[in-house]
């Protein structure tokens, strides 16, 4: 099976005021179907930039990113929206749930963008939330949930449109170690059981090793090391 993601010589530059920042300087990588890839590195090393590019939230300055044989660099804005809706699901360090909506509504909103029917949406949201142990917390607002619960809701939302790739930007960054372990376990479980490809950014190299197949280390916008873990696909 061909790789689900092929990035070739990706460059990304920002203008921050008068300063030009080279966030990515020629990154190339391939990700296989069903792979769990972790990216580690210091702050500002370009990890999140790469994830935003893969997620279709941003566009490359040069180079190409092919996901399921489609070049993101050539996509129109509306096509990128479709890509974010159908192909990828994103979770963030700060959960990014809509504060005025309940857990269920947050999950349903993503499906509403995906044009899933109302009844189906409700059913799927409830099943997803139940599967990650949040049956009792469905009608709670994000402010009424613990960090771990909020991140679970975010994961349920990311999975709601049945994406091919789950993009996790430091999903355990705001959580205590016990909860972090639970979230990592959940992601690993999803990867293993549902064969969802996961690309995760983390600071925690140790935990990354336990769940990932491969770890890329970033420094100054480049991949400086690639490590295969003992976990086999």
């Amino acid at each position: 099976m061909p790789p689900i993601l092929i990035a070739t010589d990706v460059h990304k530059q920002y203008e921050k005021g008068s300063v030009r920042i080279n966030a990515l300087q020629g990154v190339s990588l391939e990700v296989q179907h069903g792979e769990f890839l972790s990216i580690v590195g210091r702050s500002g090393s370009g990890k999140s930039t790469l994830l935003n590019l893969v997620g279709g939230l941003d566009t490359v300055s040069s180079g190409s990113i092919f996901i399921k044989k489609k070049d993101l660099a050539r996509m129109k804005r509306s096509e990128l929206a479709l890509h974010r809706r159908k192909t990828v699901g994103m979770i963030f360090q700060s959960f990014n749930l809509i504060s005025s909506r309940t857990a269920r509504e947050n999950v349903e909103l993503a499906m509403a963008f995906g044009n899933v029917r109302r009844k189906e949406r409700k059913k799927r949201a409830e099943a997803l939330l139940a599967s990650i142990g949040l049956s009792e917390r469905m009608d709670h607002l994000p402010s009424e949930l613990s960090g771990g619960e909020a991140q679970r809701v975010a994961i349920a939302r990311a999975l709601s449109n049945r994406p091919d790739i789950l993009l996790a930007d430091e999903p355990t960054g705001n959580l205590d170690s016990a909860t972090s372990a639970e979230i990592l376990e959940l992601l690993s479980d999803l990867n293993r059981r549902q064969n969802v490809t996961v690309i995760m950014i983390t600071h925690d190299k140790v935990s990354a090793q336990s769940v990932s197949h491969r770890i890329l280390e970033f420094l100054d916008g480049r991949v400086i090391r690639e490590t295969r873990t003992r976990r086999r696909a």
């Binding site: 804005r77 509306s78 974010r84 990014n96 044009n115």
Partner: protein, 474 residues
């Protein structure tokens, strides 16, 4: 995302910021309220004037005159134009001319306009008024088709008369009508008025007194008459006529107690001895004319016949005078009035639109992160634009509906207050405001349109939010 889903998101967004939504909508409500009140005043006035024209058959009637007249010059005081005869070959405006006009397509009634000053005597009381001759055919038309008491004439040579309440008051008679109090006011009692049911007057005889030049006295002593400037010697003749009907007192927009004169059957009027002129106009018009009538009243079947008939009469060489022409001018004036009134309302609405823009831009700033999240989970620019656009549309819809209610309330209050003062002056009840169906739909549509326009910029701005930056936003 489906439209109903987008609307649901929008409604919940608006509900979340209730106070702000209410205040923004209130701006639109006031704007639309002002617009509705202003425009309905304009249309109300127009309706009243047009209604008055219709009641008096001014859209379907005109005068044919012996010669062409230039109304502009007359309006500017150049009375000589009335005497000018453009074409010396024009035949006089006589019965033959009347026959020619009568057969024009669309013409329904033609008759010579006869009016002259008279005195009416009844039970020892006397009052001056103006008598007008009308043919039986006019009984088909307002106001003669709906004479409140009695009937219109049955024959042109009937010895009958139609009076009016104003004249009766001068004859010390007050009609006992359903609307009137049974008891006389102190003022009326002091003036010696009697209350009588209208029906009791029908069939009674009155004396119609007219003046004619006393030729015999003129021949006997011409020097005395003119030399000392005592005027032309006159002789009075009396004709006895039966009251067959009593006309309505007054209509809307007419002065409180204006005498509309009395009506006589056409031939009866022609037979009554009289001087032959009743005004300076008649005198001016008759100068240079040998024979023929001073003017003919021409009534056409439909409004659309007025212009072609007018042109035909013009072709014959006669002058025409249709008040409907003046109405066109009045209507133009109303368009300007409506625009001016509408503009005031629109200013209020523009201010409201700025309120909408402000509220929505603030809302976008507040919801930047939310917009970022929506984009991250697959919301397209169009969907996000639509969410904000519908938000503006809902504010417009609510503002339009409540604005309409506000506008209606304002017009009702203003109408009540205005009529209260008018009634104290003895004036009739008039609806000064009129909200036509197009205004109801137009106001709501305009409100939505203005709100959507106001929401356009914020919506585009929201759609363009950079998701990466938005997600970092606090």
């Amino acid at each position: 995302m489906k439209f109903d889903e987008t609307s649901r998101i929008t409604v919940s967004n608006l509900w979340r910021t209730k106070l702000r939504t209410v205040l923004t909508t209130l701006g639109v409500v006031i704007g639309i309220g002002a617009l509705v009140a202003m425009v309905s005043f304009g249309t109300g006035m127009q309706k009243n004037i047009t209604g008055m024209f219709e009641t008096n058959d001014l859209f379907t009637s005109m005068q044919a005159l012996p010669s062409k007249i230039n109304m502009d010059e007359v309006m500017h005081g150049n009375m000589e134009s009335l005497q000018k005869q453009d074409n010396k070959n024009v035949p006089p405006l006589d019965d033959r001319a009347m026959g020619r006009i009568r057969i024009l397509p669309g013409v329904d009634v033609v008759y010579p306009e006869i009016s002259f000053p008279v005195k009416i005597r009844y039970r020892g009381q006397e009052s001056r008024t103006l008598a007008k001759g009308l043919p039986v055919e006019m009984g088909r038309y307002k106001p003669y088709s709906a004479i409140p008491y009695g009937r219109f004439f049955k024959a042109d040579d009937e010895k009958s008369i139609i009076l009016n309440p104003f004249l009766l008051r001068n004859l010390k008679i007050r009609l006992l009508e359903p609307g009137n109090a049974k008891k006389l006011s102190l003022e009326d009692s002091l003036r010696g008025l009697r209350s009588l049911p209208p029906d009791s007057l029908l069939g009674k005889e009155v004396e119609l007194v007219t003046s004619v030049v006393d030729v015999s006295s003129l021949i006997q002593n011409p020097m005395f008459t003119f030399g000392l400037g005592r005027g032309v010697p006159v002789k009075e003749t009396t004709t006895r006529l039966k009251i067959v009907g009593i006309d309505a007192g007054r209509g809307a927009f007419e002065g409180p107690y204006r005498d509309r004169g009395i009506q006589l059957p056409l031939i009866t009027a022609q037979r009554v001895p009289q001087m032959g002129f009743s005004s300076v106009w008649d005198l001016l018009r008759s100068k240079g004319q040998q024979r023929g009538y001073a003017s003919l009243y021409v009534r056409v079947k439909k409004m659309t016949h007025l212009d072609p008939v007018k042109k035909e009469i013009d072709k014959m060489g006669y002058g025409t005078l249709a008040l409907a022409d003046q109405l066109e001018e009045i209507k133009k004036g109303f368009v300007i009035l409506d625009m001016a009134l509408g503009a005031i309302g629109t200013i209020a609405l523009v201010v409201a639109a700025l309120g909408i823009i402000n509220t929505m831009v603030m809302s976008i700033l507040e919801r930047t992160r939310e917009i970022g999240i929506m984009k991250a989970i697959g919301g397209s620019e169009n969907e996000i634009k639509t969410i904000f656009f519908i938000e503006a549309g809902i504010i417009g819809l609510l503002g339009g509906l409540f604005g309409l209610v506000l506008g209606w309330c304002v017009t009702r209050i203003a109408n009540t207050v205005a009529n209260f003062y008018v009634a104290r002056q003895g004036g009739p009840h008039v609806d000064y405001f009129y909200i036509p169906p197009w205004l109801i739909l137009g106001a709501v549509a305009f409100s939505i349109l203005v709100s959507l326009l106001a929401g356009l910029y914020p919506a585009i701005r929201a759609a363009r939010v950079n998701p990466v930056e938005a997600l970092r936003h606090d």
